[in-house]
């Protein structure tokens, strides 16, 4: 079985005291010929300077055992809250998958880098350990990477080799306290221009890693070097404009908030020369 996890977040409104955000996550798995999904959310939060700490700590305590380091940490800022809450949901979905699946391939969106504020080493390690205990292999695909060799992005190396292939990177060093719990590869799984950074749990023997990628090639559709299961997870959790309207409709009805379009300062000041805040 191939399974994938992804989450997304969206700011749907601003209030006098804070922001209203929506978070959604999706698990997609391919069983035999069919794709199936479980989608959680959207969950809507009104986050203010006053409640951000409570919201974050409540969610974290509810779903994970806080680490010693974390207890000392401060809550994310208001601007960081959407991605941090989405990150919590994503890690929880990943943890659930690694605890429930047996002998499958689990695809993550992103890398296996940990030691960051949103991904403590212990939490990522726990997820990978759980997966390994149940004979699962975690493959983490990053759409973007900053890893460079001789100034070039590792995904830009064009090998004179017919895909599919994996290019292993060696001697990678991250800035402490960040560490990577996987070995990093450049994966070009099908024809086309795209190649991705692929992290594979480094506690898995090298031959099993190759075998896992071979299984992925044999059991999932690969388009532009990207697995369909992960693509679907991304598609299913992404918010469309229609859904944003629906959520605004929901908060208008349920909370009596009136949605007003905030004046676009760029347009206001620069007229037709202002491209709008989204382009700034």
């Amino acid at each position: 079985m191939v399974a994938a996890v992804d989450t997304s977040t969206m700011k749907i409104a601003e209030t006098n005291t804070g922001i209203v955000i929506a978070v959604r996550g999706a698990n997609v798995w391919k069983q035999k010929e069919n794709y199936r999904y479980t989608r959680l959310g959207p969950f809507i939060f009104h986050i203010t300077e006053e409640n951000r700490k409570d919201i974050f700590n409540t969610l974290e305590k509810a779903y994970f055992t806080p680490t010693r380091d974390q207890n000392r940490q401060t809550a994310p800022t208001l601007q960081q809250m959407p991605t941090r809450i989405a990150g919590l949901l994503e890690r929880w979905l990943q943890a659930m998958l690694t605890k429930t699946m047996n002998g499958g391939l689990i695809l993550f969106d992103g890398s296996l880098t940990s030691g960051t504020t949103d991904t403590p080493i212990r939490r990522m390690k726990e997820i990978l350990d759980n997966g390994r205990d149940r004979k699962n292999t975690v493959l983490a695909f990053s759409k973007m990477t900053n890893l460079r060799v001789n100034g070039c992005l590792i995904t830009d190396f064009a090998l004179d080799h017919r895909p599919p292939y994996l290019l292993q990177t060696l001697g990678l060093r991250l800035k402490p306290p960040m560490v990577t719990l996987g070995d990093v590869y450049v994966a070009k799984l099908s024809k086309g221009n795209c190649a991705f950074r692929l992290d594979i749990d480094h506690q898995i023997p090298p031959e099993s890693r190759i075998e896992a990628v071979e299984k992925l090639l044999g059991n999932d559709l690969i388009s532009q070097s990207y697995p369909e299961t992960l693509r679907l997870a991304h598609i299913l959790c992404t918010f469309t404009a229609n859904e944003v309207l629906a959520m605004q409709h929901f908060i208008t009805r349920k909370c009596g908030l009136q949605i007003i379009n905030r004046p676009d300062m760029h347009r206001l000041l620069f007229g037709s020369f202002g491209k709008g805040e989204n382009y700034s």
């Binding site: 997609v28 069919n34 794709y35 199936r36 999904y37 479980t38 989608r39 959680l40 959310g41 959207p42 969950f43 809507i44 369909e228 679907l232 598609i235 299913l236 992404t238 469309t240 404009a241 229609n242 859904e243 944003v244 309207l245 629906a246 959520m247 409709h249 929901f250 009805r253």
Partner: protein, 484 residues
């Protein structure tokens, strides 16, 4: 519902799924502050352009067109709001009038407030009341879209040119029967050119019993119970038949006039004497041949007789109809094209004669598929000259392009049934009393037995109505090969 935009006399209204509005419905856009309201009619219902809908639809179909199966854990029940937004529709409406102090004004020159206006459905009875379509001679046509009774006034058909059109088996003849029966009940004189014998049983109920109209329906079948003696025919009526139906050239017509005058002076106006007179008349051989061929056509039609007792006077039926109201049905079924034209020429000539001499006050003429028997020049006659004599015509056709464009332009009322063919819709949309968009958009989606009523009967407020059933024995059904 929310007012979205206005362009010319088109208004776009945003409608949500819990508001059921269909094509043809009327809406009242009320601006409380301006103390005015717009009456608009929905002519099209479209999906509202909601951003992200395409993505929404695409992501549910990733697997070779099959829906991806899954479970949504949606504790806040946002999905219902998504559906609500996604299913919002855009109502394209045509402005029909402005209501100010309960008076209607066709103007659409003002703009109601987008934020403050309230929009609600306008019930058809209220609309008809506002439009003052009610009169003393109601004809109940059936029900409007909101199931309220839909009534027109018989006086709005009086002196008018009407067209009933629509594709086959949509209910045109049914409506014409309904109008006819109601006119007869108001003591009107009705003449019907019945091409397929559909109106012969207007006096019978569905179970074959006589109905209240039985004595008022006079069926005349040419060459059977409807024959004419030459003595009863005026020269100009017969010349009309010879020239227009039988295409007699002018020179020959002059000779015929002389023969006729001589026979009339001798009181010898019989078919036999006419034949003899042509044979012995001193004239050019070509003229004689021309006259003979037409004479034989008259004889072969069996419509003319020398036996006065055998001749049924059309006038008698018309007089009966004049006194008590009645319909004279001219059964043209099983009549050849030439004979049909002879009969129609005779009847129209006779009608004009009766009306000019005030033997008849006025007559409602119902003509089914008139292009099959009406000569070219009569079309203009009917809409201009004959109207002044008191012949008020209703054309019934499933081929709208057989009626000339000028007839549509001058039509006072149009009862339009379903058409799907663009060409047919184009033809009808040339009518002066309605805009082309309304005709094209609404007529295309009309279900059977529903008609779009346009014109003076509805004071130019197009109304969709379901024509009611009639307890009349149906005739003229299609004969089927496979019917059990």
């Amino acid at each position: 519902m929310k007012l979205y935009r206005k362009e010319g006399n088109i208004v776009q209204i945003l409608s949500f799924p819990n508001e059921t509005v269909e094509k043809g419905d009327y809406l009242l856009v009320e601006d409380g502050e301006a103390e005015k309201a717009l009456i608009v009619q929905v002519i099209d219902v479209q999906f509202a352009t909601i951003p992200g809908v395409l993505e929404e639809l695409l992501r549910s179909l990733p697997d070779g067109g099959e829906l991806i199966q899954g479970e949504d854990v949606d504790p806040l029940e946002i999905a219902s709001h998504i559906t609500y937004i996604q299913d919002a529709s855009l109502l394209v409406c045509k402005i029909r009038a402005t209501v100010e102090n309960e008076y209607l004004n066709p103007s659409s020159s003002w703009l109601p407030s987008r934020s403050q206006s309230t929009i609600k459905k306008l019930p058809i009875p209220t609309l008809l009341q506002l439009a003052k379509t009610n009169g003393n001679l109601p004809i109940n046509l059936g029900t409007a879209k909101d199931s309220s009774p839909f009534t027109i006034d018989a006086s709005s058909l009086d002196g008018r040119l009407n067209i009933i059109t629509g594709k086959k088996e949509t209910g045109k003849s049914h409506l014409s029967k309904l109008l006819m029966v109601n006119l007869v009940q108001y003591k009107a004189t009705v003449v019907v050119f019945d091409l397929n014998g559909e109106y012969l049983s207007l006096g019978m109920t569905t179970d074959g019993k006589r109905n209240v109209n039985y004595d008022k329906i006079h069926v005349l079948t040419p060459s059977q119970n409807f024959k004419v003696a030459l003595k009863q025919v005026n020269l100009h009526v017969l010349l009309g038949i010879l020239v227009h139906a039988l295409h007699l050239p002018g020179t020959s017509a002059r000779e015929f006039r002389r023969i006729w005058k001589e026979l009339r002076e001798k009181d010898q106006l019989t078919l036999h004497e006419l034949g003899e007179a042509i044979r012995n008349w001193n004239c050019n051989q070509h003229v004689r041949d021309a006259l003979f061929s037409r004479f034989h056509a008259l004889v072969n039609s069996s419509f003319f007789t020398d036996n006065i007792a055998e001749a049924t006077l059309l006038e008698e039926s018309l007089v009966k109809a004049k006194d008590h109201g009645g319909a004279v049905i001219i059964n043209l079924r099983n009549t050849s094209t030439i004979d049909r034209q002879i009969v129609v020429e005779y009847i129209l000539g006779k009608l004009v004669e009766s009306l000019t001499s005030w033997k008849l006050k006025a007559a409602f003429l119902f003509a089914e598929e008139a292009h099959l028997y009406l000569r070219e020049t009569y079309w203009d006659d009917i809409v201009t000259r004959m109207r002044h004599f008191g012949i008020f015509t209703t054309f019934i056709t499933n081929q709208p392009d057989t009626i000339r464009e000028n007839i549509y332009r001058q039509a006072d009322n149009i009862f339009l049934f379903n058409f799907t063919n663009e060409h047919d819709l184009d033809v009808v949309s040339r009518a002066a009393r309605v805009d082309a968009e309304t005709v094209r958009s609404i007529a295309r989606d009309l279900p059977p037995h529903h008609c779009l009523t346009l014109g003076k009967v509805v004071r130019d407020f197009p109304i969709v109505a379901r024509v009611k059933a009639l307890d009349i024995k149906t005739m003229g059904e299609t004969r089927l090969f496979f019917a059990g």
